[in-house]
Amino acid sequence: MINKVVKGAVEAIEDIKDGDTLMLGGFGLCGIPENLIAALVKKGVKQLTCISNNAGIDDFGIGLMLRKHQVKKMIASYVGENAEFERQLLSGELEVELIPQGTLATRCMAAGYGMPAIFTPAGVGTEVAEGKESRNFNGKEYLMEYAFDADFALIKAWKGDTAGNLIFRATSRNFNPIMAMAGKITIAEVEELVEVGELDPDHVHTPGVYVHRVFEGVNYEKRIEQRTVIKKS
């Protein structure tokens, strides 16, 4: 097996530089690469294009990078749970491209599957369709959308082995496996790093071939965005 282990987040992002395009896994704050984001903030790399379903909140997730003005452009499906985001957007500091969530997911998948473009009906007849090629198949209209081209994918898994095989937990899977497939360089942080042979090969969600660097993260906060509970009676 090929060993993909790096020491930690700082070493893992060593070659990320100003102006790079990054994919960041997660849905809301669920399954986000907390350690990698912290390292990016510490490193202070700037002018980034970030592809991520959401943009975090003011004091967590991608919000931490926004606060340090590290993001030039955000490509997401749903944002604005974040006052600083709104401020930067209105002031023209931040460029935002909003795209349908399924289109976002499928453009990641397209990159991972070596398909230069895909067809989706999402956005037909709306402003999302402006300037895009559309095409009719069997009487239904589809937009042609292109595969993403990202320099790095930063993802978070539950368990990983030294060969880069990854297993996700519950809905923290979300965009992580498809971004893992799509990055030119994929960096995975995991809650638990194990030796090869400890993961059941039938349970692996992301085969190690997609992962270039893996490390065990520390101090996971796993913040909850909407704590909705039923009171025990």
Binding site: Y78, L98, T106, K222, Q226, I230
Partner: protein
């Protein structure tokens, strides 16, 4: 006139045994509380789950387990997790039998606007454009009129569109309506105590209404 729970209750009657259902944020979420006994359905959450259950008991919430509204939830026996590409794959390939979502405006040809108000902060369409473009069966849960009393069932939407020619059924605080294939709203049921005349005057788009439209039956 129905309250939010009344709208949810009425929509719940449209759900058939064996349905896979995607519920949007807001009133649609309430529908889950009114599924009749003996009706087995599975709820999809587009962030990657089939088999969504209730909210967790206090202290049992799991940060790795949320729904598309980012709320902590639970799962039912027989649930399955998957990634976002598969999630929207099953939406596009119409494996989800019914989508229920809110709207700001619906037009008489079935266009829907529910994601953007010019001049206001735009949060994004999330999965709504994918859902409306792909679902074989969409029910809209919405207010018939806005706070100024203006109709939200229009000839043509004034807000930026989420999808076109996709809405087939609407449940509001006043009525149940179909969008006819050839265009126009067809009044099917009145909310308790609401007259056909009142619904007519609250609907800007073309409305087809018989004189004896039945009052909806809720329990």
């Amino acid at each position: 006139m129905l309250d939010k729970n009344g709208i949810a209750k009425r929509i719940a009657k449209e759900i058939k045994d064996g349905f896979y259902v995607n519920l949007g944020i807001g009133i649609p979420t309430l529908v889950a509380n009114y599924i009749p006994d003996g009706i087995n359905i599975v709820l999809q959450s587009e962030n990657g789950l089939l088999g969504m259950g209730a909210f967790p008991f206090e202290g049992e919430e799991d940060p790795d387990l949320i729904n598309a509204g980012k709320q902590t939830i639970t799962t039912l026996p027989g649930s399955a997790y998957f990634d976002s590409a598969m999630s929207f794959g099953m939406i596009r390939s119409q494996k989800i039998d019914l989508t229920i979502l809110g709207a700001m405006e619906v037009s008489e040809n079935g266009d829907i606007a529910n994601w953007k108000i010019p001049g206001k902060m735009v949060k994004g369409m999330g999965g709504a454009m994918d859902l409306v473009a792909s679902a074989k069966n969409i029910i809209v849960a919405m207010q018939h009129v806005n706070k100024l009393g203006e109709s939200k069932l229009l000839q043509k939407c004034t807000l930026p569109l989420t999808g076109i020619n996709c809405i087939k059924k609407i449940v509001t605080e006043l009525a149940v309506l179909d969008v006819l294939p050839g265009g126009g709203f067809k009044l099917l049921e009145r909310a308790p105590g609401v007259s056909v005349a009142y619904i007519k005057q609250s609907t800007l788009g073309k409305l087809f209404a018989e004189d004896d439209v039945p009052e909806m039956f809720l329990d």
